[in-house]
Subunit: 309 residues, 2 copies
């Protein structure tokens, strides 16, 4: 299938989701730029690949969640910026590795050539490898030290074998051996919980931890994160099944083409839309214990629910 | 070139370097086994690949350095075990990724098939990806929290773009554009400092930090680590140029075969041996401020200097 060329008609760098006047977009971009090493500190090729991988167009959903959660817990966004950058670095590395020929073999990401197409496979592997320690270095610099250590431990679990990486292994393994719909559904939910849910949930938790939130509020945000993560994945599946590649910014229809397990494959497009509606309602409901400072998180649910890329 | 089959005649699992009765070997192996997630916590394929990558035969040089440094600073080995495992996990991940077809394309490592030959490329990438956060999770659990945060920050820098990963990028880039011996020598030293020296030095530093060492002792161990790292790399180059594949446990002669920059290529085998002798002497000299508790580190210099694998 020929790849669509990136189009200026869709701005994949547009802040997503746009909440009010998007107070977080600019400070996230500036902080991401600042945290990457320049050519004076690492090989120029690596510095370039890191900038390409991290600073390309992106929705910045996870760092926005960090900042929104910090503010919903009475903290301020600037103090949570290292944690915001850390989750985006992990996300960016995981995309660069998932796109590799040995894995999803994707040529297009966020409307541009993937890292291994723009550079080469070795550089894509190594750029991803360098982003992981950088994320932990940012968290290790948080103050006080117990916040730093706690954030490192939380991100490590979300990015590790039991969550992010385990989800990708499950995702690649396919579902050949499973024949019953109930088994398939359970498997799909586990993949999503590991691959998407854990990083979305930990983003909210890191923001809350930096802001000194109570255990009760952490539990509320964890429950919210699980629903939001599921909503994000379900809408991602819908975009792949029904969306336009140019607008989505990456190849569409690829999931079905490679026999990948998705909600539309499992339950059909209409039932998947209804599932997304229910999940969005549950996400909003889980935020009830929080006051108006959590309104940006509520607005975000609607944006994810009705997104077109 | 046909690969030699692993031979029982050379025990690549043999403790290296053997210091006295090898007090550290067994507790390092046990701690590495304990820290890896089982099949109850991550996909069985990933659990298996992690065990294969980490628990295979290995010299365990870096974790031994952590424990020796802790003891040389008046600390005890058990308290430093999480840090010892952390550096070995980072080392194991870097080997699995360096061996990939897109990089060094090696089939044999430590006398066994490399991770991507035993499993597949995707699994080798993902096993490596999962080992990085696990290393930081172990450090984040150290107590008190400021030790945890400091160790995370130190390992992050040593494993990041400016050190370990940057060294591999430089190493892959080759030296085509450089014609003067002086330029080549500088480049080679920078590659070694980044790729080998930084992780060896940080191993010593983590052990010392866990033991509560003074800034002065940290500086002493840092200077020692730089010489030991160089010695290790120079002897590695010599083994590749002159060693027997069966004994070394990996393909030899490959550096020259692929036009890789090494000390024997740059200065000849004899001058490289003399350089190794000088470097070993400097390493021992740098330990002078430390008392007899550092004797295992002194014995280690001799073992690295005269190693056959």
């Amino acid at each position: 299938m020929p790849l669509p060329s990136p189009s200026a008609a869709v701005d994949h760098a547009a802040p997503f989701p746009t909440v009010g006047d998007d107070p977080h977009g600019a400070i996230i971009e500036a902080a991401l730029q600042r945290c990457l090493p320049g050519e004076d500190r690492c090989p120029p090729l690596l510095a370039e690949a890191l900038r390409y991988t991290v600073l390309g167009p992106g929705k910045r959903l996870r760092p926005r969640l960090v900042l929104m959660a910090a503010e919903a817990c009475g903290g301020d966004a600037p103090a949570a910026l290292p944690a915001a950058c850390a989750v985006e670095l992990i996300h960016a590395y995981s995309l660069a590795h998932d796109d590799l020929p040995a894995m999803d073999d994707d040529d297009l990401r966020r409307g541009r050539p993937t890292c291994h197409k723009r550079f080469d496979e070795a550089t894509a592997v190594l750029a991803g490898d360098a982003l992981q320690p950088l994320a932990f270095e940012l968290l290790a610099g948080l103050s006080p030290a117990d916040t730093a250590a706690r954030c490192c431990a939380e991100l490590a679990r979300a990015a590790g074998a039991e969550a992010l990486v385990g989800g990708q292994v499950d995702d690649l393994a396919g579902a050949e051996a499973l024949v019953e719909t109930q088994q398939l559904r359970q498997r799909l939910e586990r993949i999503h919980a590991r691959k998407t849910g854990a990083m979305i949930t930990v983003s909210l938790r890191l923001g809350a931890i930096v802001a000194g939130a109570s255990q009760e509020i952490l539990s509320t945000l964890t429950a919210f994160g699980e629903r939001l993560g599921l909503l994000f994945q379900v809408t991602d599946d819908l975009l792949d099944a029904t969306g336009d590649a140019e607008e989505v910014g990456k190849r569409t229809g690829k999931d079905e083409g490679r026999g990948k397990l998705t909600y539309p494959v499992l339950m059909g497009v209409e039932a998947t839309r209804e599932f997304a509606d229910r999940t969005a309602a549950e996400a909003l409901q889980s935020l009830e214990p929080l006051d108006a400072t959590a309104d940006p998180l509520r607005a975000l649910v609607d944006k994810v629910h009705h997104r077109s890329h």
